[in-house]
């Protein structure tokens, strides 16, 4: 059946309205202020391109590709943590046990938590806080409803979203009514700049999340549509070939949305997207800082994830990473006799003064600098291997 003539309806009702509605009444109806509503959890979804990742990458991708429901995604996370916890002799059946184990784990310094375990503990803690004190801080969501298909995309508060799901489906007798308070932004008022400001104004954004955020802003000012589907790192890497300098009119807005950082700092963040996929994921999961990661970029991509793993295992500082990377570069150039290497020259000068120091003094200084006996030993072994190789080459000549 053809759709009735809606225009005639509107004309009649509009004319009656003009006659009968006072100006004040019309103004009240037009009130377009941002509103806070309790929304059904099922109608709220995290944004797949949100720079800040809450769930591990594999679960994140599967969830956004509709392969997992929110409950299934959380169940996967819990299973990962259960396996890790069992391996560390801390098995648990109920996620609330994670909170009772917390003090013991903190007392036992050797019992380091995996990022997933830390994440789940934080979510459970947040869920219990919501259960006991209520959701004091509403999420910020964008209304992307089309027709009768209601949907709200999360701008900020994804952790609270997951904690509320956890409360609803995994914490018995939680009293959750399956809704969550949200500040609803009308779809037309949403923008990547708004989202960036909301993100950067809160603490806890990792360097990799900042890199993704920088990429989203650059892509946006170059007119690239931000997709509604999950994307891989290559999507963000498109920003590497784009420059803020060509869009000077947006520079201030972009830097302000990034939390008021400088151009140089912005470039440093964006450049992190040069890291390999594996290195990016590791660095994001472990929240490594930009100052540490920037040196990893000097390495070939196949070595980057290994270096990131070393940084995580030994808690290396930026300076230590820089030195290791420089050493790696020396190793790479040692066969290159055409170019005089400044690092080789520095080493030769050091060799000339080696008898001015005792081994004990070297060990003491090395331990003081590296703060880790394993790392100090690794340094010495690397140096021995390096010198043996040099000696071998000398013999050949």
């Amino acid at each position: 059946m053809p759709k009735p003539n809606v225009q005639r309806t509107s004309n009649l009702l509009a004319s009656v309205t003009d006659e009968m509605l006072g100006g004040d009444l019309a103004t009240k109806l037009q009130n377009n202020t941002i509103r806070v509503e309790r929304l059904l959890l099922e109608l709220v979804r995290p944004h797949p391109v949100q720079p800040r990742r809450v769930l591990p990458e594999r679960i994140h991708q599967a969830f956004h590709q509709q392969q997992l429901t929110p409950t299934q995604a959380l169940r996967e996370l819990i299973q990962i943590v259960q396996i890790a916890a069992r391996q560390r002799s801390r098995p648990f059946n109920n996620i609330l046990e994670l909170l009772t184990d917390r003090e013991e784990a903190e007392a036992d310094k050797s019992a380091e938590l995996s990022p997933e375990e830390t994440l789940l503990r934080d979510l459970v803690n947040l869920a219990v806080t919501i259960r006991d004190d209520g959701q004091v801080n509403p999420l910020t969501v964008v209304d992307v409803t089309q027709g009768v298909t209601r949907l709200y995309r999360i701008e900020t508060g994804e952790r609270r979203y997951w904690a509320t799901w956890l409360l609803r489906d995994f914490i018995p007798d939680s009293g959750s009514d399956g809704t969550i308070p949200c500040i609803v932004i009308p779809g037309e008022r949403a923008s990547v700049f708004r989202q960036a400001k909301e993100n950067t104004s809160r603490s806890g954004l990792t360097a990799i999340a900042m890199a993704r955020q920088a990429a989203l802003l650059v892509l946006s000012i170059y007119g690239q549509a931000i997709p509604e589907n999950p994307v891989d790192n290559d999507f963000y890497r498109q920003a590497l070939s784009l420059d803020l300098r060509a869009k000077r009119e947006y520079t201030d807005a972009v830097l302000s949305a990034m939390g008021g950082i400088g151009k140089m700092h912005f470039s440093h963040f964006k450049n992190l997207l040069h890291l390999s996929d594996e290195a990016l994921e590791l660095a994001d999961r472990h929240g490594l800082e930009e100052g540490v990661l920037r040196h990893v970029l000097q390495l070939p991509s196949e070595s980057q994830s290994e270096m990131v793993q070393q940084i995580i295992t030994f808690s290396l500082s930026g300076r230590q990473v820089r030195e290791i990377v420089e050493q790696h570069q020396i190793g790479d150039t040692e066969n290159d006799t055409e170019k005089p290497s400044p690092h080789a020259m520095r080493l030769i000068k050091l060799m000339r003064t080696v008898d001015e120091e005792t081994p004990n003094a070297l060990v003491q200084m090395l331990l003081r600098e590296e703060r880790n006996v394993h790392l100090a030993r690794a340094r010495i072994e690397t140096m021995i291997a390096f010198l043996q190789e040099a000696n071998h080459l000398l013999g050949e000549q």
């Binding site: 009735p4 309806t9 509107s10 009649l12 009702l13 509009a14 109608l43 009768v148 399956g178």
Partner: protein, 272 residues
């Protein structure tokens, strides 16, 4: 707060579905034309005859998977999501959304007898999704059955359509008494009888004019009269064509009377 208008009367043929459908469209259209931030209106059809569903969606074949029946039979925890998923867009206007009725609703009452919390099976899920709507309009069946009780528990404003005849006017008092019983019995303080709509008014009939005058002069009922809809063949023809009376014949006296009623209800919505 979203106002939930329920059109109810245990007498059939008094214009409940006609009023509910046209008022729902009218609310949505007026809100839209005034530039309101939210002009969405939800119409819930609780009558198993599904007349309101038929005229607004041109369909009557909703069943166990996509109607109010589905919501009533859903698990408590998932009922709100099910309700949201069953809502369809009206053929009349994009902002008018319909939760369709099904002939299966007849059996739903039997299935729900003795089920704990049954009377709240509309109000509970509705409370979780109604903030999306500027107003909700509920059409009820011509009886005080469990479904009508559910509709009243979910409502904030009960509006009683009534024909200007002696026996109907006598019945009006029993409707008001029943609504008050539900408000007190189920402790629904938000529910109030907020209007009487006189339908099928024919000013040429002396009895109609006399009864209307009597009602208007009544100290309580007189204040409740919020609209007088003249008897008008445009209403019947609009139904036949699955159209609202506004779009079928905007110049008809019934169209203008419904439009005035819409404005009255919007004033109440804004003024709280």
């Amino acid at each position: 707060m979203t106002h939930v208008f329920v059109f109810t009367n245990h007498k059939g043929g008094v214009g409940k579905s006609t009023s509910a459908t046209n008022i729902a469209l009218g609310l949505s259209s007026v809100l839209k034309s005034t530039g309101a931030a939210n002009a969405r209106v939800l119409l819930i059809d609780t009558d198993s005859q599904a007349h309101a569903t038929l005229v607004t969606t041109s369909r009557k074949d909703y069943g166990s998977q996509d109607s109010l029946y589905t919501v009533l039979m859903a698990e408590r925890q998932s009922a709100a999501k099910v309700m949201n998923d069953c809502i369809v867009q009206s053929q009349w206007d994009d902002n008018l959304h319909i939760l369709p009725a099904s002939s299966m609703l007849e059996g739903a009452e039997r299935e729900l007898i003795g089920v704990a919390g049954a009377p709240y099976r509309i109000s509970d899920p509705l409370s979780k999704i109604m903030s999306h709507y500027a107003a909700v309009v509920i059409d009820t069946r011509p009886s005080f059955s469990l479904l009508t009780e559910m509709a009243l528990i979910a409502a904030t404003d009960a509006i009683i359509p009534v024909e200007p005849r002696y026996l109907e006017t006598v019945g009006l008092l029993s409707v008001i008494t029943k609504i008050n019983d539900i408000r007190d019995g189920w402790r629904i303080p938000d529910l109030k009888v907020s209007g009487i709509v006189i339908t099928k008014m024919d000013s040429r009939i002396k009895g109609h004019t006399q009864l209307l005058e009597d009602l208007k002069s009544h100290p309580v009922l007189g204040k409740l009269i919020c609209g007088v809809i003249p008897a008008n063949e445009a209403v019947s023809y609009a139904h036949n064509n699955h159209q609202s009376v506004f779009s079928y014949d905007p110049k008809a006296s019934a169209s203008k009377a419904y439009a005035e009623l819409v404005v009255t209800l919007i004033r109440r919505m804004v003024q709280g």
